[in-house]
Amino acid sequence: MGTATGIIKALNSGIKHIALKRFTLRYPEEKLKFVGDGYQFDPSTGVGIAGLKGRHMLFHDHCTGCQLCSIACEGVAEAIGMVKVPEEWKQNKKSIMPQIDYGKCVFCGLCVDACPFYALYMTNDYELSSFSKEGLIYTPAQLAVKPSLDQDVEIQISSRGATHG
């Protein structure tokens, strides 16, 4: 193949793309939709349930303060510390619950796998930026709040190319 033909083919390939749709996701306005409510784990079968590994959610009425999540995290990121909570729970005699430092967390989800009481799971919330280091530390009260999300964009594939729409 001659040099001129090759260059014309390359240019032609670029020109064809003018007609194609834009694939870029316009992030703060549009947010990608994820599978399910987030990553969960079923200790009875020993298998996880697919979903995004984002910020955790803690169910105070299930947590017994057994510290298994904290022990699992010691070998990974040391992000989980056990702190006292003011409320008293029947199943939690010591009144201690996990507090997670998202400056250290690597979102591996092994703490969720370690919890035998279905108290911890991970949600689709990934927007955790903060102006201070203290703002990244989530107390048990903050972890109990279910995040409100507006993620609705998915990858669509048509004859005019793939888009986020």
Binding site: M1, G2, G14, A50, F107, C108, L110
Partner: protein
């Protein structure tokens, strides 16, 4: 002469009247910190000394203090773009030490995840190869199309880059509902897209004139220097661990390994692209042959202890044969974990390839070796 305040080797210095020593790096000559000390005569390289070791993280030592499960998140950090493949040999070896039998469905899902991850890695590699040659379209297209597969991995594993998906005993979670359809649709579209790279990049005469016949690695030298993966296959040797020592279910799948004879920078850049098409074929085949339901993970006891002995397992990663050697002394933590990484093997070929080349050809030869500094230093 060098300035007295700088340590020797870090300053630009004249060796004699004609030959100049030049440091490329250690701040990101490509991707990751490494230094290439080249001696140039005018524009021609007369000697080259690659100097890795700037991003040593002590991964192997760290693995001696954690149990088999907790080693998973940190062992994938050396190559976060290829995180499933770098975990694969570790997981296979520790399963043999722990005496686990893996469910059939988990094996297929591992193959799919591994092949998707190989494509993600190669797309990232290709984007940087494009920008090294000043081809900004080839930077944008792979980086954009990679998003299709990252989206699939996100649905599968819950994370975009560091998945922590493989675990001794199988995989972390089952596939989400109707994943097969979404995967098939996006992989088919992805394959259509990567075929378009031929016109704009691989058959572009400007690219061919820059990369063909530069940094030629002959068949004999490729064997003698111990290169692996795409570098070895670009020099005409058909060696792929997926074919030679099939692990998991690769012996049941239908695929080929591309081989080229030239051994130059162009052939080395073309092999990963052909590999991606084969990966798409493997994914389609595995989705079809996969058992539609069943267990995906063996339940482990807390802190399982490995049997006395040692195991070495190899897999084919995005860069070449990646091995993991584990010694166990009947404790919950492995006694020794050794990663034998393809990046380091391919780096050995670099001083031989660069001699006699123009300095301007150095980026294309360096990156065509499929070298990832962080993995080599681990």
């Amino acid at each position: 002469m060098s300035s007295p305040t700088l340590p020797p080797g870090l300053a630009i210095q004249k060796a004699d009247e004609r030959i100049m020593t030049l440091n490329v790096g250690p701040q990101h000559p490509g991707s990751g910190h490494m230094r290439i000390v080249v001696q140039i005569d005018g524009d021609q390289i007369v000697a080259c000394d690659p100097d890795p070791g700037y991003v040593h993280r002590g991964e192997e030592k760290m693995a001696e203090y954690r149990n088999y499960t907790l080693n998973v998140p940190h062992l994938e950090r050396p190559v976060i773009h290829d995180s499933c493949n770098i975990l694969y040999p570790y997981v296979l070896a520790s399963e043999e030490l722990l005496g686990l039998e893996i469910p059939e469905r988990a094996k297929y899902i591992r193959v799919i995840a591994s092949e998707l991850n190989r494509c993600i890695y190669i797309q990232y590699w290709l984007a940087i190869y494009g920008i090294f040659l000043g081809h900004s379209t080839m930077f944008m297209w792979p980086a954009g199309d990679r998003e299709l597969l990252i989206d699939l991995m996100e649905k599968m594993t819950g994370a975009r880059v560091t998945h922590s998906y493989f675990i001794p005993g199988g995989i972390r979670n089952d596939l989400p509902a109707n994943f097969e359809d979404v995967c098939l649709r996006q992989v088919n579209y992805f394959e259509k897209r990567i075929k378009e790279y031929a016109d704009v990049f691989y058959e572009n005469p400007i690219l061919i004139s820059r990369t063909a016949n530069t940094g030629v690695l002959t068949r004999e030298n490729a064997i003698r220097l111990g290169t692996t993966g795409s570098v070895l296959r670009a020099s005409g040797i058909d060696y792929d661990v997926r074919k030679k020592e099939p692990y998991d279910v690769y012996d049941e799948l239908d695929f080929e390994t591309p081989v080229l004879k030239d051994g130059d920078s162009y052939a080395r850049s073309r092999i990963p692209w052909l590999d991606m098409m084969e990966s798409c074929r493997i994914i389609r085949d595995a989705l079809q042959k996969m058992p539609k339901s069943g267990s995906v993970r063996v339940k482990l006891k807390p802190n399982p202890k490995g049997e006395l002995g040692s195991v070495y397992k190899r897999i084919e990663s995005g860069r070449g044969a990646l091995g993991c050697y584990i010694v166990s002394d009947k404790k919950p933590e492995p006694y020794r974990v050794k990663l034998s990484v393809p990046s380091f093997r391919n780096l050995i070929a670099m001083p031989h390839l660069l001699i006699g080349e123009k300095l301007g050809n150095m980026p294309s030869i360096y990156w065509s070796l499929n070298y990832w500094p962080v993995e080599a230093d681990r």
